[in-house]
Subunit: 275 residues, 2 copies
């Protein structure tokens, strides 16, 4: 099921700047019991991304109406809702048209069949050799320029490995191909500062909020692969998987720790209470 | 006029990875007298780009047949042919499908109405504040992740400025938003080394080839804004504009120099003789 600017269509003009230049943004949202989970947070981030890319922010009421309409059809099934907003068509080359009419695409997808033990017993990760580039101007934004992630995800097809961890070109660990990454060491929780690369995920934001509420605010900093491997516990998160402990990175093993479990249960509670 | 995988259509599936992730490449080609100019060089670069992104290279015979068919319709008019090749549809998230079936999109566009004096008397350029990120893995490739150029081109709308020059995040000058950049100083010709960012243009390649044939090989190196402003002459080039001398960057003026003119006439001769 796909809605393009409110109409049921599955095709987009090739002139759309999303296709021509990756000139747009996206959100990937869990749909549960006919509702978009953390919709408020996703629309907020989408709005901030639009502002940074100077794309007119889609009307929140229209978007919410369309999202709710689509999600209602998914009553009883878990699903994934993807929202793409582009700068629309037109302009000359890279130059945008004088009046930008954004394109919004909403599409529903099957929920991935991840085994339940990923969340309970943890996953196996590897380091990717594809690196994240550095660009403060675009860092943090969930934009449509995703070749780096595509190249990294193409590095392995072993189904025993669930995520690839990406370093930036300076060798600092940033995130997973599809997730943000946290680690705990000596009872403190750390994640990468996304000043030069990376995507500031909605789930990352919630984890940081919960950790602060629990009295241990997350420290955003730069860290190497060696620092990560010396962690007491590690987890990755995104809006679809929630929070997965990492039990193994290449040959190093990690326990499913108390901090990960506490955040996981807070997340579970919050997403059921208070969307 | 648009051909998608050989069929006359103007719409693309939203599932296409070109739209979802900018997972593809493009070429922009001048069409003159019903023929694609420098087609051999463009198809060669497209093939190299596909190899670097591990997208199956489109069959050259099919592509050439389609290009020639479209261009024949443009007999008597100058036009622009754009070729986009994407990794096609499918896969799960960033992961590509087991069997990739690339999408190829050929489209014809009006030739831009640039005044003739841009080539003869030179253009005015400015420095953009949007920077090019650093990523050796993607540097040089004409891929579809073009947000940096879009953001840079959105910085000005003064019609008296024809090009914006982009620095990388370290402050090295790299290229124009839509062109490559060369400068001459003390009878030597320089351009940016595209090891960490930038697009290795077909016209850039030809300029380097011609300069070498004329006995003054181009030096690829890193240079700052100050070094550029101390140049004897400057020009930008791409496949549509050919070669434009730069007569002014912000408040600094430059002559239309002998090296630029010699390369311009070699280019003119070559493109008429020996496509």
């Amino acid at each position: 099921m796909v809605l393009i600017n409110g109409e049921s269509r599955a095709f987009i003009e090739i002139a759309d700047r999303g296709f021509q230049y990756g000139d747009g943004l996206f959100e990937t949202i869990e749909v549960r019991n006919g509702q978009a989970v953390f919709l408020k947070q996703h629309l907020q981030r989408l709005g901030l991304g639009c502002q940074r890319l100077r794309i007119p922010v889609p009307d929140a009421q229209t978007l919410t109406f369309e999202v709710n309409g689509l999600c209602r059809q998914m009553q009883g099934t878990q699903a994934v809702l993807k929202i793409i907003v582009t700068r629309g068509s037109g302009g000359r080359g890279y130059r945008q048209p004088d009046t930008v009419q954004p394109t919004r695409v909403l599409s529903l997808h099957p929920y991935p069949d991840y085994p339940k033990n990923y969340a309970e017993q943890g996953i196996v990760a590897r380091f990717c050799s594809s690196r994240l580039g550095l660009n403060p101007g675009l860092a943090g934004i969930k934009h449509l320029n995703r070749l780096e992630q595509v190249m990294a995800r193409a590095e392995w097809d072993d189904p025993g490995i669930q995520e690839g961890l990406m370093l930036d070109i300076n060798g600092q660990v940033i995130e997973g191909t599809m997730s943000n990454l946290f680690y705990a060491k000596n009872h403190r929780l750390y994640t990468a500062a996304l000043t030069h690369s990376g995507v500031a995920g909605v789930m990352r934001g919630l984890v940081m909020q919960f950790a602060a509420e629990q009295g241990s605010p997350v420290i955003e900093h730069s860290f190497t692969r060696e620092e990560l491997l010396s962690a007491d516990e590690i987890f990755v998160c995104n809006s679809i998987i929630g929070l997965w402990p990492v039990r193994q990175i290449e040959n190093t093993h990690f326990p499913v720790g108390a901090i990960s479990q506490r955040l996981q249960s807070r997340l579970h509670q919050f997403s059921h209470d208070d969307k």
